[in-house]
């Protein structure tokens, strides 16, 4: 599952980042590395960008970039 697809509010964990663009590197530097706790909060009124919570802080990123982030849901 990718970050843009998970139900909002459900805790998840980063599994892997695909792609090796500058955006990927930037996202990793900002703490989105495999194993990091992450949560989708909501998407902007026009569906893009999305707001996520990673390691306890909030971040806005575009859907196209979120599609590169593989996550797995926690609990259940």
């Amino acid at each position: 599952m990718t970050l843009d697809k998970i139900p909002s509010g459900r805790p998840a964990r980063v599994v892997a980042l695909e792609g090796s663009t500058r955006v990927t590197l930037r996202l990793m530097e900002m703490g989105i590395v495999p194993g990091a706790p992450i949560r989708l909060i909501k998407s902007a009124p026009l569906g893009d960008p999305i707001q996520v919570c990673v390691r306890g802080y909030h971040l806005a990123l575009r859907v196209a970039d979120a599609q590169e982030i593989k996550v797995t849901l926690q609990g259940e």
Binding site: P11, L17, R26, A36, Q51, R55
Partner: protein, 653 residues
């Protein structure tokens, strides 16, 4: 770089030169607050050679018997692998690769204690360089409220650097920080060898670094109740970034900002104008008529007034911008509007500059500073003057009052209102097209990542807000003001030379003066060029003078037509005169079509030296302002040409 005074007691014990200390850290970590707390008002803005990025330099008194150190506030960065220009500059200074900037003697890394893991990523990269590093732990009060307990001693031992908790607002910890910095500098008197350049981080080492930091943080801190309940910030976000309420609130905020710079600024601007006009009048009536009085009353005083008249708008705009930035709302506004502005090839941060340009492009262009991507920023600067600013309004109203008064369309709608709205729309549509073209040609997207942090909401601090306003106003007066003043005097000279004989200041002799001046001659020289737009040489003089500032055309026309610029009912008499004015061949000089053509010209042309001066200052070269004035002039000419010739083909006059 200005020298900081050196006291002689220190000469024996320490370096003869003041220490150079850099503050680095993630964006939103509290760098600027700490910088302001450490330096107070002893700071100034420095531009790096050849680029638009600026940083603040201030004097920091480390101890009583040492000369104050130079403290540099660097742009925020997340890692040493820079992506934006801001970050590249911060990194180069930190690594001692900065051009014309010596490497710092010590680095204060600001670490947000509510977001330890991510903030320590940059910190550990810097620590590894074996440079003297001291960590300033900010937001400590916030961490306590979140029941986050940090064992500072344990963390410092694990990272092998001194860590000082600070609360910038209350000056808590600043003394200890100064001591820690001093002792870290003394300890490493010999600078370590620089590490080889260009060792890019592989994803593997990045992940390993995070893993290591996670372990260190887990051992030295404990969270009370992680993520179990929503913070205040989350609750505020439920409304402010809500699908429906979010845009509504944003719209209200924007209306407020727009209203403020459009109408609240009107009174102080009016006062400034009145005072300077009165000053000119006093000089004219009390000085013997001649060149000096004319230079003062016609060139210098209006020039200074023309600079200061912008201050109310700049003050208000930056008051709002700094409050919105400092509170954390600006990031939300960007979040909400990014998708919409992406259609134009721009991004969310272009919203505020473009909106404020409807009041005045000068503060609008200054506000583009918040756009990190240099190409997005430049595109925004280049299209900002298409937003119909308040200086165009008097020109539009004069034209409408003269040529379209009391006419209605579709029954009850006043034709003037329809024209006015069309002019605003023309500007917006042109801006969209030009932005699209620029983004697909000279300013092709550089693909810089759009990832922005949405920091926790907090009350804006009075200190930070007033610092921002003071800096911006000061910079405008010093950097743009001098250019505006210089051009004012040049334009005055063009209208004042060569001198006409005999100097009673009747409106007739004034008209003769301007007709025979260089500006008047130029008006006649360009007549063949502007004739296809429907303009005669009198309008030509007005056009030339309007490149100082758009509304100048009104006073120039008053002088050229001998109406007298200072009568109370100026615009009505001017309207009457214009309506009856005839050319040499007996035809009317001002037809409705001429009026429309002139207004189109005013929508599209960049007739504002203040805008040019501010673009020069913001882009640090004359290249872009010259490009701007040229391409907008071409567009204005073509727009007017098509309007006038097309109108005639369709049978209008």
């Amino acid at each position: 770089m200005s020298a900081v005074p050196i006291t002689n007691q220190a000469a024996s014990s320490s370096q003869p030169k003041p220490l150079l200390i850099a503050i680095a850290g993630n964006p939103n970590a509290g760098k600027t607050s700490l910088f302001n707390a450490l330096t107070g008002l002893r700071q100034r803005v420095a531009n790096y050679a050849g680029v638009t990025v600026e940083s603040k330099v201030g004097a920091w008194k480390l101890s009583d018997d040492l000369p104050p150190a130079q403290l540099i506030d660097l742009p925020g960065l997340y890692s040493l692998e820079a992506t934006s220009l801001d970050e590249q500059i911060a990194r180069d200074v930190l690594l001692g690769r900065g051009h014309r900037m010596p490497s710092p003697d010590a680095i204060v890394v600001v670490v947000d204690s509510t977001n330890l893991v991510r903030n320590l990523y940059l910190a550990t990269q810097l620590i590894e360089r074996e440079w003297p590093v001291v960590i300033a732990l900010t937001m400590f009060d916030l961490a306590e409220r979140q029941r986050l307990v940090i064992d500072v001693g344990k963390l410092a031992a694990a990272l092998a650097v001194p860590i000082v908790p600070v609360v910038a607002k209350h000056q808590r910890g600043t003394r200890v920080l100064a001591e820690a910095v001093l002792s870290s500098v003394v300890k490493s008197a010999t600078a370590p060898d620089k590490l080889p350049e260009g060792n890019t981080t592989s994803q593997r080492s990045l992940i390993d670094r995070y893993r290591w930091i996670e372990e260190v943080v887990a051992e030295s801190s404990s969270r009370g109740d992680e993520q179990s309940k929503a913070t205040t910030s989350d609750k505020i976000d439920r409304i402010l970034t809500h699908r429906v309420f979010g845009p509504v609130v944003l719209l209200l905020v924007l209306v407020l900002v727009f209203q403020a710079i459009f109408s609240w600024a009107a009174l102080p601007m009016y006062i400034i104008e009145t005072v300077f006009n009165a000053l000119s009048e006093t000089i004219r009536s009390n000085f013997p008529p001649g060149l000096l009085a004319d230079l003062l009353a016609g060139g210098v005083i209006p020039g200074v007034g023309g600079v200061l008249v912008f201050l109310p708008q700049i003050f208000l705009l930056f008051l709002f911008i700094s409050i919105l930035e400092d509170s954390g709302y600006m990031a939300r506004a960007v979040f909400l509007t990014d998708r919409l502005l992406r259609i134009l090839g721009l991004q969310g941060r272009a919203l505020m500059p473009l909106l404020s340009s409807f009041a005045c492009a000068v503060p609008g262009i200054m506000a583009t500073r918040t756009i990190e991507d240099p190409k997005d920023r430049l595109t925004t600067i280049l299209i900002a003057p298409f937003m119909s600013c308040s200086a165009r309004l008097p020109v539009y109203t004069l034209m409408i009052a003269t040529l379209f008064a009391d006419r209605t369309v579709l029954g009850h709608v006043s034709l003037g209102v329809v024209i006015l709205i069309s002019l605003y729309l023309l500007g917006i549509v042109t801006a969209v097209i030009v932005a699209w073209i620029l983004k697909h040609t000279v300013l092709k997207a550089s693909g810089s990542p759009f990832v922005i942090e949405l920091p926790a909401y907090r009350l804006p601090s009075f200190g930070n807000v007033s610092h921002t306003i003071l800096t911006r106003c000061g910079l405008f007066v010093r950097k743009a003001g001098t250019v505006i003043l210089a051009i004012s005097i040049v334009l005055w000279a063009l209208a004042a030379f060569p001198r006409s004989p005999a100097g009673q200041s009747t409106s007739k002799s004034q008209a003769a003066q301007i007709r025979n001046s260089y500006a008047g001659r130029a008006g006649r020289v360009i007549e063949p060029v502007i004739a296809p737009l429907g303009f005669d040489w009198k309008i030509g003089i007005g056009l030339i003078s309007s490149f100082a500032a758009r509304e100048t055309i009104i006073s120039t026309l008053s002088i050229v037509y001998g109406v007298g610029a200072d009568s109370a009912g100026e615009s009505t008499t001017l309207s009457k005169t214009l309506r009856n004015a005839r050319r040499q061949d007996g035809t009317l000089a001002w037809t409705p079509l001429v009026g429309i053509s002139l207004m189109v010209f005013f929508v599209l042309a960049c007739q504002c030296m203040s805008t040019l001066a501010v673009v020069r200052r913001e882009t640090n070269s004359w290249r872009w302002p010259l490009f701007m004035v040229f391409y907008m002039l071409v567009l204005a000419y073509l727009g007017s040409l098509v309007t006038y010739q097309g109108g005639r083909l369709l049978g209008f006059s």
